[in-house]
């Protein structure tokens, strides 16, 4: 609306200026015209009087002529008529109203008309008509006419002009105000609202101003822009979805690969207790068994069945696929659970697997399956790095954290940590820089997908944490998984 007011103001100022100039010139012209008329009128009167005065002067002498003029003066209401002498020292009553120097033309017997002001501030139109007496003395008939009438007329003209200008300004303001709000204000508001909507990310509402003016063009441009933005956003969304889906598939593949690696061990783990169960059952069935042996066999069967149940349960929780199902869990319990799952594999490679927890719980809000996957990946890597046996330690702790990544640096967060440390080969600096890259692997072809660590990294990042690596060539590596502690007051 401000723009409308500005434009209105400028237009009206222009109009008022033009009108004022026009009025000024027309008043000037009228004034000239009026003056000319008055002057002509005075000259007519003067010429008539001069003729008569000259006649009277010749026939009856000076005094009668001047007396005639005095009488004539009384006959004219608006015009003052009197006789003046132009030569030097004369009585006050015969002196002209203006200095004689201004009346030089009279000596050439020319009529002089001029404007003069009286000492009381009134303007007069003075007309002098020369008359040379018989004795050669130069005099003149002076007609002085008050300009008051003309001033009144000009005043009236001015007043009218001012009224007209005033009315023009007011009506112009009203008119432009109404039209401006209709033509400019309304489309402007619509465009503004649309720009605001686009600015806040709402790309669903379209705008369409009819007509062919600039606003309609602008609205068409904005509309085009909105459509392009919406398309771009949609494309980005699709790309993101695809990326997410691909990542999820990759994760699933990796999970399956890890599962495959695990399953050989698990087959062995299940095969042995099954064998014991079947064998013991057969023993019970066979003849010649004593009561003590039978009950011992039955007990062993029970234990082996329990052992298998544990293995199957962990296998299921690991292989479960889908969205991250976060729940509050204690890292100590998670680590202990992993011990029984990974111990057989480690044991087989001649490696001891130790779990060290804390007395106090280490609560996090996390998907236990995903964290298990992370730890299994790290532990299997550790096992593979330890050809000569040794110990892999899974530790749960509350660390003194010093190197928090910048984007996670929040002083209020309390960090808890799980560490997987092996006594393997360790890594070189170059390898260390790449280990989290997808498809980077140091294993032989077919032995690893190169995805395990990158997926582990992604999972930990999704849980709001990060993985830190400490490695010494020839002595082993330690992977630390930092996660934000879950305090019971938090809402999820």
């Amino acid at each position: 609306m401000r723009l409308t007011i500005k434009i209105t103001f400028a237009v009206i100022l222009g109009v008022a200026l033009i009108f004022s100039v026009y009025s000024y010139f027309s008043i000037q012209r009228e004034r000239q015209q009026l003056k000319k008329n008055l002057s002509r009128e005075a000259r007519h009167i003067g010429e008539s009087l001069r003729f008569l005065v000259a006649e009277i002067w010749q026939q009856r002498g000076e005094d009668v002529a001047i007396a005639f003029l005095k009488r004539a003066d009384q006959d004219y209401e608006h015009t003052l008529v009197r006789w003046v002498w132009l030569d030097g020292d004369v009585a006050l009553q015969y002196q002209p109203r203006v200095p004689v120097e201004q009346l030089e033309a009279l000596f050439n017997e020319e009529t002089v008309a001029l404007l003069a002001g009286s000492p009381d501030g009134q303007d007069f139109l003075l007309t002098y008509l020369p008359l040379i007496t018989d004795n050669g003395r130069v005099g003149a008939i002076e007609l002085s006419e008050s300009m008051n009438e003309m001033h009144d007329y000009v005043q009236e003209s001015l007043r009218r002009s001012a009224i007209v200008v005033g009315i023009s300004v007011v009506s112009g303001l009203l008119f432009m105000g109404v039209l401006g709000s209709f033509w400019i204000g309304r489309p402007m508001r619509k465009l503004h609202a649309q720009a605001e909507r686009i600015g806040t990310g709402d790309l669903t509402t379209s705008i369409n101003l009819s007509g062919g003016d600039e606003f309609a063009k602008l609205s068409a441009t904005i509309e085009r822009m909105r459509r392009q933005l919406a398309e771009a956003r949609e494309a980005e969304q699709v790309a993101n979805d695809e990326k997410y889906e691909a990542l999820e598939k990759l994760r699933h593949t990796e999970r399956l690969a890890t599962l495959g690696q695990l399953s050989a061990g698990i087959a062995h783990e299940l095969g042995t207790p099954l064998n014991v169960i079947a064998g013991r059952a057969k023993l019970i069935d066979s003849s010649g068994m004593e009561g003590v042996d039978i009950s011992r066999s039955a007990k062993i069967i029970g234990e082996q069945a329990e052992r298998m149940t544990q293995i199957i349960r962990q296998l299921l929780s690991f292989a479960r696929r889908g969205e991250a199902r976060k729940q509050t869990l204690d890292l100590n319990i998670l680590l202990r659970g992993l011990h029984s799952l990974l111990e057989p594999i480690a044991h087989e490679q001649g490696i001891d697997l130790t779990v060290i927890g804390t007395e106090q719980p280490l609560p996090v809000h996390a998907d236990s399956g995903q964290l298990q996957q992370v730890l299994i990946n790290l532990t299997l890597n550790g096992i593979q790095a330890m050809e000569n046996g040794g110990t892999i330690t899974l530790t749960g702790c509350r660390p003194e954290v010093t190197n928090i990544p910048e984007k996670l640096n929040n002083k209020e967060t309390v960090w808890v940590c799980m560490q997987v440390s092996d006594q393997g080969r360790g890594m070189e600096q170059e390898t260390l820089q790449q280990i989290f890259d997808p498809f980077f692997t140091t294993k032989e072809v077919g032995q690893g997908t190169g995805l395990g660590l990158s997926i582990a990294y992604g999972i930990v990042e999704e849980h709001g944490g990060w993985i830190d690596v400490d490695t010494t060539l020839g002595k082993g590596s330690c992977f630390s998984i930092y996660l934000p502690e879950f305090s019971s007051g938090e809402t999820v």
Partner: protein, 140 residues
Amino acid sequence: MEAVCLDHHPQILLAEDDLELRELLTLVLSRAGYQVTSCDNGLQLLEHLEHADQYNLIISDVRMPALTGLEVLESQIDNPRCPPFICMTAFGDEVTHAAARRFGASATIDKPFDLDEMIELVHYTCLRTKTENLSVRSRS
């Protein structure tokens, strides 16, 4: 005469890392008339094999700590005194079966197996070895 003597009490060397299964097999094989020596990892098995001629048969698990059954078997490829070797594998792992046969295993058996089946396999393997030995002797 020695062979006849062995026939009465064939010596079996059993390598199995799982305590329960080891105990069970020892019990069952003893009841079937065999003398059983047992160990719980590949390294011990290898040490026992330094006196290979003391045994008539070896029954070994494949997956074991330190050295796997297959590795031990492979190391004995050029040992003419090595007795017949029965490999126990888990759930019909074909690759392991093939590897075991390639390294000279007399037989492979999948876990979980039937105890009678195992006894039968042990009898059969011992018998065949004896026959082979006899035929070699008769030829000489």
